[in-house]
């Protein structure tokens, strides 16, 4: 974070950068894993039907890997939310993270606890929304 602030020199952009760096990995790894695990026989079917690479990517690989990609996104969003709150605490100015830190400085423990409760609630909601979206891309084998 300090390195980002020093190089980028803009607090909002550097927070976004830090959040990105922290949360991208599960999504990246899961996407790679999902694409690599597409069943050979589906790819063979596409080959025997002379399907172009682009069409194979969108109609075979993407739907096949979609559940794994969505799982990666669910994990990433949890991490992203954590890092958002942390970054807000550090950078200050706006957001629930700043609120928590500010209330801590005002020694208002009730507000701190209420804020923590809401952070948890929003995290859960984000996860549930993505879980609901995952249902549309899942398939039974």
């Amino acid at each position: 974070m300090p390195l980002a602030l020093y190089t980028i020199k803009d607090s909002n952009t550097s927070s976004v950068f830090v959040i990105f760096i922290c949360s991208i990995w599960p999504m990246l790894i899961n996407t790679a894993f999902g694409v690599a695990s597409v069943r050979r026989e589906w790819l063979n079917v596409a080959k025997t039907l002379e399907v172009s690479h682009l069409r194979t990517a969108f109609h075979v690989i993407l739907p096949a890997a979609a559940p794994t990609i969505m799982t990666g996104m669910r994990i990433s969003i949890g991490i992203a939310w954590l890092v958002i709150v942390a970054a807000e605490m550090l950078v200050g100015g706006t957001g629930i993270g700043y609120f928590v830190w500010n209330e801590w400085n005002n020694l208002s423990i009730t507000n701190v606890i209420a804020a923590i409760f809401f952070i948890g609630l929003i995290g859960m909601l984000l996860d549930q929304v993505l879980a609901w979206i995952s249902k549309f891309v899942s398939y039974a084998e």
Binding site: E41, N44, T48, L49, E50, A64, V137, Y139, A140, E141
Partner: protein, 308 residues
């Protein structure tokens, strides 16, 4: 001068480099020659490990041969093509698409310029052909094994290929479903005159469906042992096929091969100095006279051997 065969397999060989770099490469099969005429149904029978699936993959273009060529209508082919449709052993349906969706995908690949209505009509025709009317919108998880394989067959037929390649399509199904699917495949192929190449373990299935049965010796270094011509009439059915005079001689020949001769044949063929792999023996055991019952118990009925 005979006209060139629809599909000709010429001198196909497949070897793999040895797992440890020192020893010789492992040859799965070598010098395989046979022809498939238009409208013919050819079955390949052999023990596990003789390279049947590898051969089919090479025919489909999913694998490369180490030697030899596959000639389709006079041109050597190397890569997968819509002209050679494959039905896999494990149906290979895409689970996120419905039954009609899977066929749609194939039809769209073949004729990308067709309108939605044209494609839907075409897919429906093939759904009806394999008797799945009413189950079009079901996803894979809602279909039984037999239904899934029917969709696989419909998908292969819907692109109207030059040849259909089937890799033991019914081996994962129960006996009753297998029987009804064999009947359906037989009637569909007769109706459409489709050229088919099928791999199977089941001797009765081969006798019901095939016009020619190619027998392969055991691997490694498997070769074509012989080609058995199915001399039973083309309008045979599963119910009365076994009453035909040629049925048992044919069946006995095939079973003898699988049980006993598959290993011996390779040495026999290797020992023949004048053997030409491009002209495998063609046998018609159905035309031999039926065996006397008790008089010559130990005598072996020699099948009529005709070099092509």
């Amino acid at each position: 001068m005979t006209s060139p065969a629809h599909i000709s397999i010429e001198g196909l060989t497949r070897s793999f480099p040895a797992p440890d770099r020192e020893s010789d490469p492992v040859t799965v099969f070598k010098d395989v020659w046979f022809k498939i005429e238009k409208g013919e149904f050819v079955c390949l029978i052999g023990h596990s490990g003789c390279g049947k699936t590898t051969l089919l993959n090479i025919l489909a273009g999913l694998d490369h041969a180490t030697g030899g060529a596959v000639i389709v209508d006079g041109e050597a082919v190397d890569s997968p093509s819509l002209d050679r449709a494959v039905v896999f052993q494990s149906h290979a349906l895409m689970p996120w698409m419905s039954a009609i969706g899977n066929i749609w995908f194939a039809v769209k690949s073949r004729w990308p310029r067709w309108s939605r209505d044209q494609i839907r009509e075409h897919c429906q025709k093939y759904i009806d052909l394999v008797r799945l009317t009413g189950s079009e919108n079901k996803k894979q998880a809602q279909l039984s094994g037999g239904m899934k394989q029917r969709v696989g067959i419909a998908r292969a037929m819907a692109i109207e290929p030059k040849i259909m390649l089937l890799d033991e399509p019914f081996s994962a199904l129960d006996a009753l479903t297998r029987g009804s699917l064999q009947d359906e495949l037989l009637s569909v192929c007769r109706e459409t005159g489709q050229t088919v190449f099928m791999i199977t373990h089941d001797v009765d299935e081969a006798l019901l469906l095939a016009d020619k049965i190619v027998l392969m010796t055991n691997g490694p270094e498997a070769v074509i042992s012989e080609i058995v011509v199915n001399t039973m009439p083309r309008d045979r059915t599963r119910h009365d096929m076994h009453r035909h005079a040629h049925y048992y001689p044919l069946r006995n020949h095939l079973i003898d091969f699988l049980v006993e001769r598959a290993t011996r044949r390779r040495e026999e063929i290797a020992a023949r100095a004048d053997y030409d792999p491009s002209k495998p023996d063609i046998m018609k055991p159905g035309l031999t006279a039926p065996r006397e019952t008790s008089a010559d118990e130990g005598a072996e009925t020699k099948p009529t051997v005709m070099a092509s």
